[in-house]
């Protein structure tokens, strides 16, 4: 009996360790938070581009600066191998991120390039935002097209 409990204990420990090692909770929070920071600031710029929010150069600049900053975060630590949608719950990250990592990194770099263009345009007036926003949207789509699964 004691032996059985011992084995059970070891098994539970082993399972617990395995689960903790593969859950990537911190990484999911970080990268989903990163996307959310981009989205919230795009909401400000998009609202101005559509004319729903009055254009204000300082507010637009701050939003674009935030997007430029958050897209500079190095992707490696946020997307560790094994944190794909087939391996764990709570993510739409496709395995292609790792099977075609060079392609993913190139798309990620293009996002920052587009964010820099938006940063340069944001203070230049309401009409300048729309086209720069289009470029950033293209970068979002280009990556999501290949590397993100549909909603779960």
């Amino acid at each position: 009996m004691k032996k059985v409990i011992g084995i059970l204990g070891i098994a539970t420990l082993a399972l617990g360790t395995a689960a903790a090692a593969q859950d990537f909770g911190g990484q999911l929070k970080a990268r989903q938070g990163q996307m959310r920071i981009i989205a919230i600031n795009l909401g400000i710029l998009g609202g101005m581009a559509k004319g729903e929010i009055a254009y204000d150069a300082a507010t637009a600049q701050a939003a674009a600066d935030s997007i430029a900053g958050v897209t500079m975060v190095a992707p490696g630590p946020l997307w560790p191998e094994g944190s794909d949608e087939m391996s764990i719950d709570g993510t739409k990250a496709k395995a292609e991120i790792w099977s075609d990592n060079a392609g993913f990194l190139a798309k990620y770099a293009e996002l920052h390039t587009a964010a820099l263009a938006l940063q340069a345009a944001a203070g230049q007036g309401q009409e300048a935002i729309g086209p720069a926003l289009g470029g950033l949207g293209g970068a979002c789509k280009a990556c999501h097209e290949t590397y993100r699964a549909p909603m779960n």
Partner: protein
């Protein structure tokens, strides 16, 4: 007794003959294109709205290269894997040897020039609702695209779905080229034409029955992703509460109201819709907003 057997055999033969006749490929009427000439510029817009390149460009092709309709993309399904064929104007490898009537039979009736049924992975069930003028426009535009000598690859579909006559029976049961939704304004009519015919939105957004036919009773009510994990979202009122201008903006930019962005195959759809007119995007939005709650 012998007479009964003969009668039975005759009845069986008659049923088989009737079945063979019923499942025979049906072409369009021969006079559909009388007096119609295709227009290349109009055809380019039809081509974009219909998303032809999204499935028929070579795997991974973007930009100008996506106008070479060499085929080769793979589409997994419950019935096997379909491989998009070469539809470039190459005379042997593509469809350069076809004429307009043959093209229209393929696009609107799912019948090849050789008289074989095409698998409905090719959305001729939606394209059947296209006007003859738009089919002619599209045909004219396709001639202007680059030819590719890439050979089309066979579909990877197992028994019994590889029996083409079975597709004839499927068509008898499920092929209904009439409209799904009413449309009583010109804008709704245009939206319906884009959604139900050209952009074939129902192919992914409407659930299918066990035989792979769209369940029009649950039109655009969302469905499992046909090519992997996840769900294709529902567009009906209880599921999608975006304003009409939000839908139009999404189709233009790929941004949702809370600035998430389109992904997967929808990113290609948005790239196409972004090249259409604002009026077309607003028409699609109007159609979506007019969908009934379940």
């Amino acid at each position: 007794m012998r007479r009964a057997l003969i009668l039975l055999a005759a009845a069986g033969l008659a049923a088989a003959a009737l079945g063979w006749w019923l499942t025979a490929p049906a072409r369009l009427a021969p006079d559909v294109f009388d007096g119609i000439t295709g227009d290349v510029t109009q055809g380019a817009a039809v081509f974009t709205a219909a998303g032809c390149a999204s499935c028929h460009h070579a795997p991974g092709a973007t930009g100008e290269a996506a106008l070479v309709l060499a085929g080769g993309q793979r589409f997994d399904s419950d019935f096997g894997t379909f491989l998009a064929p070469n539809i470039s104007p190459h005379p042997e490898a593509g469809i350069g040897g076809w004429n307009l009537a043959q093209f229209a039979d393929a696009v609107q009736r799912g019948v090849s020039p050789e008289g074989a049924h095409l698998f409905p992975a090719f959305p001729y069930t939606a394209y059947a609702r296209m006007t003859p003028q738009d089919v002619a426009n599209l045909w004219a535009y396709l001639q202007t695209l680059p030819a590719s000598d890439t050979a089309s690859l066979p579909h990877e579909v197992g028994f019994p779905f590889n029996i083409r006559r079975g597709v004839g029976a499927w068509k008898l049961l499920f092929f209904r080229p009439d409209w799904v939704r009413p449309a009583d304004t010109p804008q709704l009519e245009r939206g319906r034409y884009l959604v139900e015919a050209l952009a074939h939105c129902g192919e992914c957004h409407t659930p299918r029955n066990a035989l792979g036919a769209l369940d029009t009773g649950r039109w655009l009510a969302g469905a499992p992703n046909p090519n992997g994990k996840g769900e294709i979202p529902a567009l009906i009122p209880n599921a999608l509460d975006w304003a009409a201008q939000d839908i139009a903006y999404y189709l233009e930019t790929g941004f949702t109201p809370d600035f998430d962005s389109a992904g997967g195959h929808m990113a290609e759809v948005v790239a196409n819709f972004g090249r259409l007119t604002a009026a077309d995007r607003e028409a699609v939005a109007a159609y979506v907003k007019a969908l009934p709650a379940p």
